[in-house]
Subunit: 200 residues, 3 copies
């Protein structure tokens, strides 16, 4: 199940990359690169920071094949995708939910402090979107009004709060991931934002 959710997250991030790249009038190759970077950027930075090299997508071809297929399918069904924006938000949110928990668990395996593990989970979930936006000359998603990385941090905190309860590890995984997903969906639905400090 772990791997299935991971693939769904990769697909969702790849789709979001394709849509942004098309809106920027990039050529086919540019679209493919943005899809790839969005899907594997966060995991790559996570692996580099903890010294897990060659990085994951170089060792497991599944990611590459999934991204290639997703890109082709998304381009071919572009005219229908516009109706899918809501599903996309859902997929994307499932993606950051999952990537957060995967990142947290990688940090635990590397013997890191819980706070660092939560940071690592957040980096895994958010960095792909940040690179996508920098390459496309947009303000990075985590700096916009919408709650994004905050949801990942809450999910990571939840993971450590319930980790020592007498429940199965898969359940911990699902609950922590769900916290990310529900937090973000509620924030988007009710337009909840974090306060800013700036005063005119």
């Amino acid at each position: 199940m772990f791997h299935t959710l991971d693939i769904i997250g990769t697909i969702a991030f790849a789709i979001s990359g394709v849509l942004v790249a098309i809106s920027k009038k990039m050529d086919l190759f540019g679209i493919l690169i943005i899809a790839f970077v969005t899907a594997i950027g966060g995991g790559t930075l996570r692996d580099l920071l903890i010294g897990n090299t060659p990085v994951s997508w170089m060792q497991d071809m599944t990611y590459t094949y999934v991204i290639l297929i997703t890109t082709v399918v998304t381009i071919l069904s572009k005219s229908k995708i516009d109706y899918l924006r809501t599903s996309l938000l859902l997929f994307d949110t499932i993606g950051i939910g999952l990537y957060t928990v995967v990142g947290v668990e990688k940090g635990i395996s590397a013997g890191l402090n819980p706070i660092i593990c939560i940071a690592l989970g957040t980096i895994s979930a958010c960095f792909g979107g940040v690179i996508r936006d920098i390459l496309c000359n947009e303000i990075p998603v985590i700096f916009r009004k919408e709650i994004y990385a905050t949801a990942c941090i809450l999910g990571g905190l939840c993971y450590f709060l319930i980790q020592n309860l007498p429940i199965d590890n898969n359940v911990v995984f699902i609950i922590a991931g769900s916290v990310v997903i529900i937090t973000r969906l509620l924030a988007v639905k009710f337009k909840i934002t974090l306060p800013t400090i700036y005063k005119d």
Copy 2:
């Protein structure tokens, strides 16, 4: 003493990140990220390049706590910070002075050529500010008119010139760091800039 100066540098960089992020109207989370990236960016790239992973801030929680506290305190005392701009330049300059020498010494420990050690020291000192500026859509600090990285290079050169003299290693550290600090402060005070090649 080494660690104390290191913490002062981290605090100074975190403050500079908070101030830039506030001026960009970022939300609380964006401010925290920019503070963090500014403070640990240079050391992280240094660690990645020489293969020292997990990177330093993942192994020593002091950095994380210091940055969190600094960010909160800076936000709470924002109205007073404006009077602190001169002190900030001083702190920031102490920061690059220290990070330069720390980077040089890490390079020596890794058995690298002196020129590479100086490059590593300069990267440690400057890269946090570069990422901060890229994320905030500003021209990176090292490419602006003001002397910045040049001061780090001079400090690094000084380190190797006096390293073999019969003086204590702590003294070498202080002298080389002071060269960075004095060079930058003099350059700012007397508006010394490097020449450009561009002709209209």
Copy 3:
């Protein structure tokens, strides 16, 4: 011969960095940094991704000396360089041709899948130019109309197609590199571009 071509590639990338930095009115130090980043950026990311640290340019001083000398000579002969734009395209193209094959071979040494090796070769060839353009606030070269990374991918594919033929490894290297070079030169000459998806 391998090393000679590698140096030619490094020189070409350094020259291209100097020219872009001058056109952005950077000071002497900014020019040097952009030259350096353009020349070693791709190889550095390649080394980080496969875990080859300290990265190559930190272990072999030849790159540093070549980049320093190239930068000085290019600045001094700036007025003549304008006549060299055509040669520059040639040098730059030789550069990506060579860096592609070097990257592919590094991937093979690390025991990676052929598709990943081709990606690694393309990253080696293109990433220096991408960082140069991001630092200079330009749209990254690989996302512009001109064929660029596509030539690298074709060269990488060619490498694996002819690799098992009964020919010398040096010949495989030359043929694959030539595919990159010829593809790009033909694409520039005949203004061949990849199609885009965007419709108004």
